[in-house]
Point group: D2
């Protein structure tokens, strides 16, 4: 059974900014989708903000195993009903890979419960990403560190809940640090945040960045038998089939 | 400086159910407040659902260091603006101690990002609570386990994010188990969930239960210098006072 | 590439106790090996205490991806040099699945740094195991709980470090609870502890128990590129290939 | 009741290296002890490698609530029996604050179960330490970051178990990052690792570094009622005083 991926993208910067369009002529979502299609066992669709229901109809969401999310300038335009739809699906087991400025998306803030604020400054300096959990499946094929020559700076404190796993820490040429790859579980759904990907830099053409995104998709895919939690208002008085002595 | 505590209580069951009123003649909030006042270094106020703004005006919330929260039948009546006010204050450092059926309160679900569902059945059986993190300040004075003769059953899976700390696991006479004391941090605020306290049982007269609630208040109190995270939209280009070489 | 598994077993009880021999005529290790061989992509060897070097020569250890460990009455007979050999291999990436009374093995205590003590009593009561992390790969195919009619009791406090993940909590018919499936990482190696398997009960013939052990083997297998940490006394002055600006 | 602190120091560099002796004329242990004595509610002793039993007789260890540990060039000279003595006391509740090159001490490696290797290079560059858990008691009085103008570099991957809490991340002027303040619990004992303190730099005269060490001492002090875990070989058939129905 292939993993059914939906790459969701705000897709506004590419339409307005020539620099971005040169890097991602068909939009970042297409760049990411093209990469994911080269991997085996993955089916890929894309969805964007300006489509009806942001491309996230109930049937699309219900048949998505892992969703990628990139947004930045138009977080506020995402309808709350669609956010609730995606949240419910995550809690029921769908993986969610939140990229870069998606840290301030409604769906990420809803799942985290915090401001998701961070420090930032776009000076295009160097980002070096260091592995802090070698052997994690999301880091398969990644050495002890890798470098992006030009990226936007994100700095701590990043106001998110304590992650279940901290996989990468970035340092920037201006001296700041950032927890740049983390995972959380919410309900039965696995969530990954991965920092790189400012629209004016070619990070989604970098082999290590793409490798990590591909690994994250596989890692976040639902596991057979991971059940939607039952609960109120449907208590099950006889669920414990074998009664105690 | 004393810890300024606000005990928030739905305060409905006591008005309608004689059994509850016998256990808590002035309401659970008064029972809890009376206990907390016996501890040194704590100032206690109470607030209830049916007061204006649920007793949680901006000035009350702003001058609260730790809030306790008990609700059950009227979660839906809590206004969203008050929930947002309390959430902001938690993220800025206020401690929050959520009790029993408060697991389904708007404020707890908002901070957790999950359904907070669980299995439950009220048969009044025995609950035994076992320590899984001896030496934690919230468990000061508690032996390796303690027993409540009659309580409502809560069972796993409890749909909350992975806790930062798991302090107690309950077993019930019908065989189920439950993670019954856990902590999380959201923003700078410390959150404790503590399971016992069904309105028809005298759990808030139990010395160990009270001891844990008192300990939790002290543990969740803000720490000097725990700052509200700064962030977008106020980047600070010169915050790194000492520039790298 | 198949996962290369070595099932290590003390293999003493079966030789001395008819009740155990009836349950596991060729030893528990053969029962477990036979099951693992039915799964695809796994190669299985066994090794036992009374073989030379306990069956764990350097070449065997070096070519093992995941090791299972069951021991009980003869922990003290395991040579310290073999323990060190296994520990080094775990830190370099080998998975280790510690079963039942293996909690008191030298290798587990070495990796945990604690006493690994627990409460126990063998009355053959019922054990019910409840899922606390639905959707985890080790729990694939497992419902919200399952029951073993007869098992030895293990009770908290279990003196191990805070686990990276808590997957199952057991309750016993006598009322105690136990964290019965947990994971840790040490170095690059993944470690799983799984409680069931007292020698006088047929737990390793139970389909859910076997399913979890098989899942644990897959989960603990090394990931491509998970590197042995470099370190002192071999600093690498030029490892940061791209120098900061 | 005051917290009884023992500052343990290898105390070799000061005797051999004039640069170190200028910074710490009576040894680092005296500098640290002098600071701790300025805080209320703390009693301080010191102990050094070259004293009988390294200054850590059974009675000294038994009456210590929190031990600080700094070692570097002579880790191998610490006797294994003393290491075992300290380990047992940690598991029973004594706090342990491991400083800088103490990461490679026998006691720390014993408690961690890993190599505790890291990358390092001594070029005396700048270290900036960023808070990742604002509001933690160990960070009381610390702003969002602070800077040490000259320190040795330590870099990831630092081969320690996943910490219970990550409090500070350092960046160095050469671009590396390091998790520079972390906590773990082993048995009932609380362990803190804090990175700064290379012997040729004046880090233990820095007010923020001292503040954090003082905070760590308070945080790691034993809590009333945190019991030594009981366990094998002393099962307690009647420990569950209230039997289930």
């Amino acid at each position: 059974m292939p993993i059914r991926v939906t790459v969701w993208h705000e897709y506004r910067h590419e339409k307005r900014n020539e620099q971005v369009r040169k890097l991602y002529p068909d939009g970042m979502h297409q760049t990411l989708a093209t990469y994911l299609k080269t991997l085996g066992g993955i089916e890929v669709r894309t969805a964007t903000l300006d489509e009806p229901e942001h491309g996230l109809s109930q049937s699309i969401v219900d048949t998505t195993d892992v969703m990628l999310w990139w947004g930045h300038m138009a977080h506020a335009e995402v309808q709350d009903t669609i956010v609730s739809r995606v949240q419910s699906r995550v809690l029921a087991g769908m993986g969610l890979v939140v990229l870069h400025s998606g840290h301030h998306s409604k769906i990420f803030k809803r799942l985290m419960g915090t401001t998701c604020n961070l420090k930032w400054r776009d000076e295009g300096g160097r980002e070096a990403l260091f592995v802090t959990k070698p052997g994690h499946p999301i880091l398969a094929g990644i050495d002890d560190h890798f470098v992006l020559e030009h990226e936007e700076m994100y700095g701590e404190y990043f106001d998110v809940p304590e992650p279940d796993e901290l996989l990468l820490i970035s340092s920037f040429s201006t001296g700041e640090v950032f927890r740049s790859c983390m995972t959380w579980q919410r309900g039965v759904g696995k969530i990954v945040y991965f920092r790189p990907g400012h629209e004016t830099y070619p990070s989604y053409h970098n082999p290590q960045v793409l490798r990590i995104i591909g690994n994250a998709v596989r890692w976040a895919a639902p596991v057979d038998g991971g059940k939607v939690p039952e609960g109120c208002p449907n208590p099950s008085p006889d669920w414990l089939k074998t009664k105690p002595d």
